[in-house]
Amino acid sequence: MTGFVTKSGAKFILTAIIIIFAGSLPKLFVGISFDFSAYLKEIHNVLSAMIHPSELFFYTQPEVTKPIFPYLWHPFFYSMKIFFGSFLLALLIGLIFSYFTFFLPRRLRKVISAIVFIGESLPDLFVIITIQLLIVWFYKQTHILLANVGGMGDHYVYLLPIICLAILPSFLFYRVILLACEDELGKDYIDMARSKGIRLPALLIRHVLRNMLTSIFFHSKTIIWMLLSNLLVFEYLFNIRGITMFMYEYPEPLIFTICMLMIFVPIFLFFMIVQLLIQWFTGQRVVV
């Protein structure tokens, strides 16, 4: 347990340092030439801003400044809700669909895997713009505006962004889970369990799901960072006043670094909790 804490603590500090160093990099470029002293100064600025967060300001208009901190909490929590909501939704969709895939005939499974391959290769941009066109088309047909595309407003919608953001990762999750499942089903203990008369549903839920948790976890790391990139584009599309939109509207290295650190903390905590849960689960399995 102490090993776990020191290890993840070291990882946390390393990542925070790298975010600070990389986040200040834009100051290194002045146009297309370099300015190294400005870079060092920016790192110093970020560090001092972390100690005194109340002194952070952003420009709402050329002359008017506003303190970041009470303002930023709202977009931050809003973005995080959408982010984790769609992550969990994608995971759920992946799990349910891959579960039912195992009860389909073999020929149909081939068709599905071809569809998934195409779906996975679709760039997120295509999905986004198709959604945008669909919303407009739907509005023209029924005069119901599903989302405020292109307009400005301070309303907070949850359902549609979460669903749309979850489309691409659920393809990825589906494929990852299916591969892990097939991998697991080839193992010896499955034959043993089957020979004892355990049916496929019980086998999948009770044994395979638990054993492939680690594999899903490792893949979910890359998926979550991909999701973060997509979050910006979706917030831009839906005109959500979220944290990545804030970073986009005020493209300052200082704001970028602070926001990245803020986003990183909950994701890191999430990974830690999941890791502990998996250790607990697999630990139990070993005992049994």
Partner: protein, 342 residues
């Protein structure tokens, strides 16, 4: 290797799509000097006026025209060499730099694998789209008050390309280095070393042949990634080669007709609700491009697997009957039951 690739229909489909588009794009440039055909007004055979631009794809096939009546299909053709060419070039520069660094790391610094992997793991946290946006916006966007760029087109495109290439080099070089490092752990490397092979010999004769196909796979993956990033930046209004902005808050113009740029230019509510083909054309081409590279990737991986099996079979020189037996075997099946020591 090339023969095996030619046999993969998926690879050939993707490859031909990309090559033909780029070739046609260059052909159009040299033969017609990128002349854009313009349809200002359209009449039917009786001389009756049909409409004014923008024309829909049904009026001016295949992609319609933009607001000034310029043919979207030709615009996309001109842009093909920019988008596809830039993606390939950036990925190539990225691979070249990453290969050199990966070589150093895999050969000499592989002891510190854990540190390097941890650093690169933390680097992937930063969303590249946003980061690139912050760095590039000062260079690429036209000053809206003076309507001039700070830098000429080639410097802008060069800076953007170089930045997109270099920003991911650490990640890719650690990827390549880890490949090299794990290859060194194979048993045949030990044998070759015992037989007196020098470092250079080991690398050229025992590492490189296994590494090259993997490098090719990573290369195609990087092309896809670059295309996605360029697309994102275009969507956010940062067009490859520079965003022309003549008035603050007014429509943007691309300097190169590049696909992501055409998406960004037309990504406003008016275009989408009334003239959806303006944004649909470029996004379809972009998607087809990415799917083509994905096809290449899958074909490549299949060809590599097929190649391995063929080589195994060729290497086996046994009596006729036994040989037949071996051919019947699956590539990975146990010949004799293995006894574990545990």
């Amino acid at each position: 290797m090339i023969k095996a690739l030619l046999k993969q229909p998926l690879f050939m489909m993707g490859f031909l799509f990309v090559v033909i588009l780029i070739a046609a794009s260059f052909y159009y440039q040299f033969k017609y000097h990128n002349k854009l055909p313009q349809t200002t007004l359209l009449y039917d055979e009786n001389g009756k006026l049909l409409g004014a631009p923008p024309f829909s794809p049904s009026e001016v096939p295949p992609f319609g025209t933009d607001r000034s009546g310029f043919n979207m299909g030709i615009k996309l053709l001109i842009g093909a060499k920019w988008t596809l060419g830039a993606a390939i070039l950036i990925a190539f520069v990225r691979m070249g730099l990453a290969f050199i660094l990966g070589l150093l790391y895999g050969n000499y610094l592989f002891r510190f694998k854990r540190i390097f992997t941890a650093i690169v793991d933390s680097l992937t946290v930063i969303p590249l789209t946003l980061f690139a946006y912050i760095v590039l916006s000062s260079v690429l966007v036209m000053d809206s008050f003076t309507s001039t760029f700070k830098y000429p087109l080639w410097e802008r495109a060069g800076f953007e390309g170089l930045f997109l290439a270099v920003a991911v080099v650490p990640v890719v070089s650690v990827l390549i280095g880890n490949e090299i490092g794990t290859l060194y752990k194979n048993e045949y490397i030990d044998s070759a070393r015992i037989l007196g092979g020098s470092r250079l010999h080991l690398f050229c004769h025992h590492i490189l042949p296994h590494l090259l196909p993997k490098l090719f796979v990573i290369f195609v993956q990087q092309i896809i990634q670059v295309m996605i990033i360029i697309g994102h930046l275009g969507f956010l209004g940062l067009l490859f080669g520079g965003t022309m902005k003549f008035q603050p808050g007014m429509a943007l113009l691309s300097s190169t007709q590049e696909w992501a740029g055409l998406i960004g230019v037309n990504n406003n509510i008016q275009s989408i609700s009334i003239y959806p083909w303006l944004v649909m054309g470029p996004i379809i081409m972009m998607t087809l491009g990415i799917i083509a590279f994905n096809f290449m990737l899958v074909g490549l991986q299949k060809a590599l697997e097929a190649n391995k099996v063929v080589k195994l079979k060729r290497g086996v020189r046994l009596e006729g009957t036994v040989n037949k037996d071996l051919r019947a075997l699956e590539p990975f099946s146990f010949v004799t039951p293995r006894i574990d020591e545990s």
